[in-house]
């Protein structure tokens, strides 16, 4: 898509907002109007960012497809690395029965998280980053979708032995690259059931913490508060900063029924290369944008 089309669209958005503001000034809430025009914005803002200053900020990059091919696992990444001193990231899908997807406490890690989420219908999907001064920086995209991602039963239940595999962890750590962060990918076997299917209780991972194993202790590197909309068998990509003397990473987690998750992730082999980055690629070589 050309830049002029993007500019044109953004002018249309602004135009739409102007018209709305003129027609109904009484219903406008506090703070800036939502560039995505979502009917849920003001309610969600008050619920999740209560009282805190909120700005729409394009430096928070949210990536998700414009159309969801599989509403049970829509890829989503929130990247706030362009901001300084980010202490928390949240992801929100406005029109989900559970809008809050996750809260990420990056600690010493980079303010970047990617996962896959369930989407119940076409919706605004947002990433928000709280900086140390207490301001929430919000950005997002619209994702079109057929219905039902949150209320579909997990595919795991079709396998007789699914319960034997809950909590199995697959993981890989890549060495730190130029930016000093090491890509960590986690995949955890879990139904991550929303509880919306009649008679089946909610069953999902609630917390995941990554720490470093060192001779002097095990400092926490990052923590995820994960919620219902995260996909079945969740996958997370994080960019962590293991201390130089780390001998492994430790993953500890718990689901809402008290099930524990624990795994030891080995350091990358000496000949491994850092993870690739889309930023390093030349978009001019591409067609079909």
């Amino acid at each position: 898509m050309s830049n002029s089309v993007i500019r044109f669209r953004s002018a249309l958005c602004r135009g739409g907002v102007l018209l709305l503001a003129t027609a109904a000034p009484a219903v406008a809430g506090d703070g800036p109007a939502d560039p995505l025009g979502s009917v849920m914005w003001e309610a969600l803002r008050d619920q999740y960012f209560a009282g805190a200053p909120v700005v729409f900020d394009g430096r928070v990059k949210v990536m998700a497809p414009t159309s969801a091919e599989d509403t049970r696992a829509v890829p989503l990444s929130v990247d706030a690395t362009a901001l300084d001193r980010v202490v928390e990231l949240v992801a929100i899908a406005d029109l989900n029965p559970f809008p809050l997807v996750l809260r990420y406490h990056p600690g010493t890690a980079s303010p970047y998280i990617a996962t896959r989420i369930k989407i119940q219908q076409a919706t605004a999907v947002r990433g928000a980053a709280r900086t140390a001064d207490g301001v929430w920086h919000v950005s997002g995209v619209l994702v079109d979708a057929a219905g039902g991602g949150c209320s579909a039963p997990p595919a795991s239940y079709a396998q007789k032995d699914w319960a034997d595999h809950v909590g199995e962890v697959q993981a890989r750590l890549w060495p730190a690259g130029d930016e000093g962060t090491a890509r960590l990918r986690l995949r955890i076997r879990h139904p991550n059931d929303t509880g919306l299917v009649d008679g089946i209780p909610a069953y999902f991972i609630e917390t995941l913490s990554v720490s470093a194993q060192t001779a002097g202790g095990s400092p926490e590197l990052a923590r995820i508060d994960s919620l219902e909309p995260v996909s079945e068998n969740p996958v997370f990509s994080l960019d962590v900063r293991p201390p130089p003397d780390a001998t492994a990473l430790i993953l500890r987690g718990r689901d809402n029924q008290g099930g524990e998750i624990r795994a030891t992730i080995p350091m990358p082999p000496p000949d491994a290369r850092p993870a690739m980055s889309l930023k390093a690629m030349d978009p001019l070589r591409s067609v079909g944008q």
Partner: protein, 317 residues
């Protein structure tokens, strides 16, 4: 600056008005305007768009066909909706008054069989895997088409093919058809080679100047299907999506795309890229000839990435 914004707003209004009058036009009776093209002796194709399903094309993105034999008409695919099937049958009637002898459905994707209501008085043949796929997923596939193309689907219901077929060579009057069962594009792909004319209906196995779709694909098996096409002696290749050609150039094109797609996603997984980033990976210049390129590429990331990733990550507990 302000003048420029006003101009853009004015343009926006003009566009909106344009869209509204377009919608008003579309509110008239919907019609696909199907016109058969004669591509070989006794052989006709209804050439569809190379786009994705939209509310303006009503799902007409396929090359349905028919062969007029001395033993009746052989129909190949019935289109995306009841309306398409009915229009197709009426258009066939304008070419010949011979009865419909048999319908063949190449796979379970929506545009191949949702027009079958217009042919329930004859045998509708498909591979057993296609019949099972339509029994299992047909309802969901139909629902999704209602969402994608809307009113064009009115009255369309699932019709499960009635006659399971296997690999065989069958004579219909003066034409000899070879039924070629394969798997890869979907779990059951039926190609039809008319040995009398040398016309090959590839179904979804070959795409031509249109990005291949992968919702039920196993790439390695699909590449083996392309080998099978290469081995055939043909005079004309009719892909279900894209251009009809007298050569096998699009077999190579389909192979090139699938090989690039699979290799690129595997390398990206192996090198730690995330799936959301993979949606934006650069696509080489040579694929610019494929229609709906970025859109289908992104759909393919959704279809293929999770399995590649699951297979590549080591267990750690």
């Amino acid at each position: 600056m302000r003048a420029s914004l006003l101009r853009r707003l004015a343009l926006g209004t003009a566009l909106t008005v344009g869209l509204l009058s377009g919608a008003a036009l579309a509110a008239g009776p919907l019609t696909y305007g199907l016109k058969p093209t004669r591509i070989a002796p006794d052989t006709y194709v209804f050439e569809g768009s190379t786009k994705h399903f939209t509310r303006s094309n009503g799902g007409n993105i396929l090359n349905a066909g028919f062969i007029v034999t001395t033993d009746g008409v052989i129909v190949i695919q019935t289109g995306p909706s009841r309306r398409y099937g009915e229009e197709m049958r009426a258009a066939i009637r304008r070419v010949t008054d011979k009865p419909i002898r048999k319908v063949f459905i190449s796979n379970l994707h929506p545009d191949y069989w949702l027009g079958s209501q217009a042919f329930t008085d004859v045998a509708i043949a498909a591979l057993p895997g296609t019949i099972a796929g339509i029994e299992e997923e047909g309802r969901g596939i139909a629902d999704n088409m209602y969402r994608l193309v809307g009113d064009w689907m009115r009255g369309t219901e699932v019709v499960v093919p009635t006659e399971p077929v296997l690999g065989s060579t069958v004579k219909f009057g003066d034409h000899t058809l070879r039924l070629i069962p394969l798997h890869g594009h979907t779990a059951a792909d039926l190609m039809l080679l008319d040995e009398t004319t040398g016309v090959l209906f590839t179904g979804g196995v070959v795409f031509c100047d249109r990005t291949p779709t992968t919702p039920h694909a196993t790439v390695a098996d699909w590449l083996a299907e392309l080998d099978a096409v290469e081995a055939l002696d043909i005079r004309l290749l009719v892909p279900n999506h894209g251009h009809i050609r007298p050569d096998k150039a699009c077999v190579a094109q389909t192979r090139d795309w699938l090989t690039w797609l699979d290799g690129t996603l595997r390398r990206a997984v192996e090198n730690g890229l995330d799936m959301a980033d993979a949606l934006e990976l650069p696509i080489p210049e040579r694929f610019a000839v494929l229609d709906v390129l970025r859109e289908e590429y992104r759909r393919s990331v959704a279809h293929l990435w999770p399995k590649i990733e699951q297979d590549s990550l080591p267990r750690v507990n």
